[in-house]
Subunit: 381 residues, 2 copies
Amino acid sequence: MIKKAYLLSPGPTPVPPSVLAAAAEPIIHHRTEEFSGIFMEVTEGLKTIFGTREDVYILTASGTGAMEAAVANLCSPGDRVLTINAGKFGERWSRICRAYGVAARDIVLDWGKVLPKESLEAELEAVPDVKAVFATLSETSAGQVFDIKGFGEVVARTQAVLVVDGISGLGAAPCPMDEWNIDVLIAGSQKSLMIPPGLSFIAASPKAWAFIESSKCPKFYFDLKKARQSLASRTSPWSPAISLIVQQKKALEIILAPGLDKLIAHHHVLAEATRAGVRALGLELLAERPGDILTAVRTPSGIDGKTLVKTMQTKYLAYIAGAQDPHKGEFFRIAHLGYMGGFDVITALTALEMTLADLGFAIVPGTSIQAAEPILKENWS
Amino acid sequence: MIKKAYLLSPGPTPVPPSVLAAAAEPIIHHRTEEFSGIFMEVTEGLKTIFGTREDVYILTASGTGAMEAAVANLCSPGDRVLTINAGKFGERWSRICRAYGVAARDIVLDWGKVLPKESLEAELEAVPDVKAVFATLSETSAGQVFDIKGFGEVVARTQAVLVVDGISGLGAAPCPMDEWNIDVLIAGSQKSLMIPPGLSFIAASPKAWAFIESSKCPKFYFDLKKARQSLASRTSPWSPAISLIVQQKKALEIILAPGLDKLIAHHHVLAEATRAGVRALGLELLAERPGDILTAVRTPSGIDGKTLVKTMQTKYLAYIAGAQDPHKGEFFRIAHLGYMGGFDVITALTALEMTLADLGFAIVPGTSIQAAEPILKENWS
């Protein structure tokens, strides 16, 4: 058989052909009216994705750059903050804070677990003078989605700001920034926003801007005050990744024609079908509150998890993701994110069945499809 | 006539069609052997461009990000450094240093002027304990190229490191890092390296690495120690701009087939033709030591410089660059950089002649071409 690869990872995600083609257009200069028009159209479209009236800034950097921008712009050395850490990306908040001398108290949970808003409230009461809470919408390393709405309710009653890493989740899980009292929200380009990695996006509430004005952490490239000043002139302070922004315009057209609600609903259908398929095989999900972004599945006993992922990737060219350190082999992650459709779920499940059979797991072919197909069909529109 | 645009700016520069097409290929995952191979091929190719045995790190950020990486990784707050500032980009070194609390003493020169190595030597003797000298290979705002070789001789005799912004110059002007005793060298993707903006590159000498080990400035996304650790695993610490790196591989194939010397020689021919054409029109160059990257030309008296640039850009769609603040209107900049050929110089000069005629400047059509054409023809091969 010819080799045909299927990207089923939680970033990068497949890019629509017309969006790929947009990158093949001749490059235009970024200090022109033509590009300013594109740039502003993208920032406007992102406001809809973010659910905010605030400006959304485009950074030429992948998501970690925007996370650093949040810390460096909001905080000063010695500030007391809370981080919610139930996986690689929650942990990253803590690492960035420490790099800047920000006193992070980490609320550490097992991977896949979530934090009840009441627990966050108790932490905020117990720790005096918390300036910021750093949270994650969708913890990509383990597949759970946090109660950001609840966190927003709790944090809004304090002096602290709520900072949310929505890099993998935004667009695939509801997260309306203004309505949910989120003060800083971040997104990445290579997830539900359907373009390659290289851009990240950040918006800040008026409450957050007051912190930004007095922040004493050093910053330059990620300085949001410079970004705000440049946006007033319909541009960015530094050379932007022009071709990626042109692609983002095209992708936002695809996304916003049906609307954000439809994009979120689409992800929910794919996720429901995936979860049903996986469960029909007798497998267990890792996440306490699984998100519609990706499904993390515990490796069944008797099977080597690393071999499972490797077989999926190299024999079937179905690029799911494995588990990251320190949980390598313990579970695997099937994404249903961005420009993936119902048949991509079928592909993932079928490749999983074939792989499990290869590894000696008793499988009746089609078992997962029997469960997933009706969910897809019922919601097909 | 149909509208056909010509990009004649010092970044972004035109991208070869096959390199544009590479961005339209389906996205691949970055944690795969396939991508690691591409990633390592690019880092290897960049070592040739940099003229170094050291590793070259790929940052997903435009050039200013790499400049910040140099400051944040080398320095600690309070360190004494020198910056050579004869334009916007030299000034940027100083601004980044100040943002990090680094005590920059700025050697300020008029735009277009260069610093003799003897003057740098005298500064280094006068100021005790200088830790770093921040210089610019090609000052894009004014078109001059500095004596980096001379700076290298002078700085190598001290405890300081020499940091060179080669963003617009590298590939178009000689700048062999190891041979010239450069300790940190930076480049950008959207100049002679022929791809869109969004990537920057940085390499450090063993002398610089000793500084990096003891630096106390905060950093995370731009942390070179993390980049070094990841490169050992043939990857980058954060999601890289995959499509741009795939494009850079393609562009480096185009560049390195004939070789770096040919690329530099090519730029010299284009620059010589441009300078001859401009001078034949009776116009004056701004730079004391003009580089082969772009030619900055003083606006002739009686002509409004802003109108000149606007006419070039909007009537003839010849996207040269104007002068930046605080020198707006005083000169204009014609780039001959990256994927531009001999006839692009002819285009630029002809559009300039037409524009000057529009603005009432006495012009005999073809005057500049008479001077430029023989230079191009003689070197055509």
